[in-house]
């Protein structure tokens, strides 16, 4: 159980780790999907190539886009790209890094699908059965006598054993073996090529621009974590806001009842209880509000977060009035001393 929890926490720790997990699962799912998918060659001359091309290309595209969609970094990338610079400069290197890292991870599942499809051979067989060299593999003397459409119709049925009727021209097994062998060769070449490419990219990269790479990686993680923390802080704030709002509502009803019924049943309710009622537990709720206590201020805060992100520089009481944001930070001012800080 501990192992499971550790893995879970590790994967959740940041978006990249999470995406590694998701892409691994998607690669497995892609292989599983292929085996569950019932390949169904139409065995008609015009349709074979179209169907096979579709099956070879559409699912990888779907998997690639799915890998991108499931990655929260996509909207983060778009946000970071489109935001006004404000007080924080934009670094195109960080954006490029984020895009590359997303695209690399999203490419894994499509590569697995293409590799599995080629190694299995059914798709290739379906696509190229009409292009088999009959003169070499079958009864070469009979082939020129057939009109091309008839030949095509005959050969198109090679992938379908139950309706193939051309054994007199070309043994089905021969054609199938021939095409599958080519398909597997292509498949293994593809696997080798992609693995080689990945290896080269990974080993050669540190030879170029390693320092810039480290910088981009750091700031890309930072943006991700900052966004998550901002969302968490907003949720915490919303909870505190709701609690205080409801408490005040009940107190207001209480107060109006007291005023409305100056005598009678409410004589038992201690009148001065409203003041001490707010002390226990309510103080920490109010602190969580960080001084932002109404809708207009909250909206301004959210606008300013997008339009004018704070600079990447701690250790200064930055004056925020220039933004038009009426900052209601609670005193005392925080003296945070960072031992080093860097600018983007």
């Amino acid at each position: 159980m501990d192992k499971f929890r550790m893995i879970f926490q590790f994967l959740q720790s940041n978006q990249e780790s999470f995406m590694n997990g998701v892409c691994g699962i998607m690669a497995l799912a892609s292989a599983q999907m292929y085996s569950a998918f019932d390949f169904n060659c139409p065995c008609l001359p015009g349709y074979n190539a179209a169907y096979s091309a579709g099956i070879l290309l559409a699912p990888p595209l779907v998997l690639f886009l799915l890998g991108l969609v499931m990655n929260n970094n996509v909207s983060m990338l778009a946000e970071e790209w489109k935001r006004p610079p404000g007080r924080r400069a934009k670094d195109p290197a960080v954006l490029r890094y984020m895009f590359c890292s997303m695209a690399q991870r999203a490419l894994i599942a499509p590569v697995v699908w293409v590799a599995v499809t080629l190694l299995d051979g059914k798709c290739f067989l379906c696509a190229f059965c009409t292009a088999v060299p009959v003169t070499v593999l079958g009864n070469g003397s009979l082939a020129p006598g057939l009109p091309p459409p008839e030949l095509a119709r005959l050969l198109a049925r090679v992938p379908c054993p139950d309706i193939y009727d051309g054994d007199w021209l070309l043994a089905r097994e021969v054609a199938v073996r021939y095409l599958r062998c080519i398909s597997q060769a292509l498949g293994w070449s593809f696997v080798l090529l992609t693995t080689l490419l990945a290896f080269v990219v990974r080993s050669v990269r540190p030879c170029f621009t390693q320092a810039a790479f480290l910088k981009s990686k750091y700031w890309s993680h930072y943006i991700d974590i900052e966004r998550k923390l901002f969302d968490e802080t907003c949720t915490e704030h919303a909870k505190a806001f709701a609690k205080v709002c409801i408490q005040q509502f009940f107190e207001a009803v209480n107060h109006d009842l007291e005023l409305g019924h100056a005598h009678g049943a409410l004589a038992t309710a201690p009148a001065g209880s409203a003041a001490p009622a707010t002390t226990d537990g309510a103080e920490e709720e109010r602190e969580k509000l960080r001084g932002i206590t109404d809708q207009g201020t909250m909206n301004r805060l959210l606008t300013s977060w997008h339009k004018c992100k704070p600079p990447l520089q701690l250790g200064q009481e930055e004056p925020l009035m220039g933004n038009g944001w009426a900052g209601g930070r609670p005193r005392p001012p925080r003296k945070e001393v960072a031992t080093y800080f860097s600018r983007v």
Binding site: M1, S75, A78
Partner: protein, 345 residues
């Protein structure tokens, strides 16, 4: 067990996680339902289309409605839509945001059913076998049109004597399945492209408005949940006091009727509540605002006020219910002005 608890806690961490969890669960249920359903094409001329299309479209509709039902946020959205304005203005943008989020999640399971059905092909073959053009297949050259129609209607049923082991049936079936799979993959591709574009392009439009709407729709959801919890707490408190009050009044009634005639031989009865009705004070002075609402009419009034006139989203201004502002806090501010921090109420 621990695994489940951890997963449960993870999903409970925010209401969005809860909704995602429900969406995934419903998707898994859909897949299981589809694989365990026993498809049974009637293989009769007019009924085929009806059965095939019915099976393609009716379960998705039911799953869509289930998705809406299972999602608590749909109720919250409708409540927010229909409430009277009261002291809190309504923002149609928030309602639209909640609506789109609810619809997106509810659409996942129906789409999975439709895609599975199309990729599997049985529904499509059943529905459209009678509409195939016989010219495409040379095997039908020797049959009369009515024979062809009969044959085509029986194509989905492999075991039927008319079509058993017939290459023509296999050819037609293959053709339709391939068409069905092509349509299925095209729809999947289209949906994924739309989702991808929506995700990429959203920050290009109105990002600030989006942040605000997301915050306030989350707030509305949280507030509703917290209000329900507070009401539960109040109901518990109310019930407790009511029961204690009843016992106390029974005891005093018995005393008044003089049922305790003589004390000889009877052990002294301890008083039922050592502190009387004030015994609850030690319980938590923070609950005083709950305790003041202490009769059925008052509770009813509180609940109808919550509905008809929600408090304004301003914790410093007076949330008093009377227009005249009878509370001492009424003199303070309008919305949006800057105030020195710690608000003391």
């Amino acid at each position: 067990m621990e695994k489940f608890r951890m997963l449960f806690q993870h999903f409970q961490s925010s209401s969005e996680s809860v909704m995602n969890g429900i969406c995934l669960l419903l998707a898994a249920v859909t897949v299981k339902l589809y694989s365990s359903f026993d498809f049974n094409c009637p293989c009769l001329a007019r009924y085929n289309t009806l059965y095939g299309l019915g099976l393609l479209l009716t379960p998705p509709l039911a799953l869509f409605l289930c998705g809406l039902l299972a999602n608590r946020q749909s109720v919250v959205m409708v409540e927010e839509w229909r409430r009277p304005v009261g002291q809190r203005t309504k923002d149609p943008g928030i309602i639209r945001y909640m609506c789109s989020s609810v619809l997106q999640r509810a659409l996942a399971a129906p789409l999975i059913w439709i895609l599975l059905a199309l990729l599997d092909g049985k529904c499509f073959v059943c529905a459209f076998s009678s509409s195939v053009d016989p010219e495409k297949f040379l095997d039908f050259a020797n049959m009369t049109p009515s024979q062809v129609q009969l044959f085509l209607a029986k194509v989905p049923c492999k075991e039927d004597e008319l079509v058993r082991d017939s290459p023509a049936r296999k050819a037609v079936s293959r053709y339709l399945r391939c068409l069905s799979q092509a349509i299925g993959w095209s729809i999947t591709l289209l949906l994924i492209i739309v989702a991808f574009l929506a995700r990429c392009l959203r920050p290009c439009f109105d990002q600030t408005v989006f942040l605000q709407r997301r915050y306030w729709s989350n707030y509305v959801d949280l507030e509703q949940k917290l209000f329900d919890e507070t009401c539960c707490e109040h109901a518990r408190d109310f019930a407790h006091r009511c029961v204690l009050h009843f016992f106390a009044s029974m005891q005093s009634e018995m005393r008044a009727r003089g049922l305790r005639r003589d004390t000889a031989g009877r052990r002294p009865e301890p008083p039922l509540m050592p502190n009387g009705p004030d015994g609850l004070d030690g319980d938590g002075g923070s609950k005083a605002h709950l305790r003041a609402v202490s009769s059925r009419e008052q509770v009813d009034r509180l609940l109808s006020t919550w509905y008809s006139s929600k408090p304004p989203l301003d914790l410093v201004a007076s949330p008093g219910l009377r227009a005249g502002g009878l509370s001492h806090r009424a003199a303070t501010v309008a919305l949006g002005t800057r105030l020195p921090q710690h608000t003391d109420v």
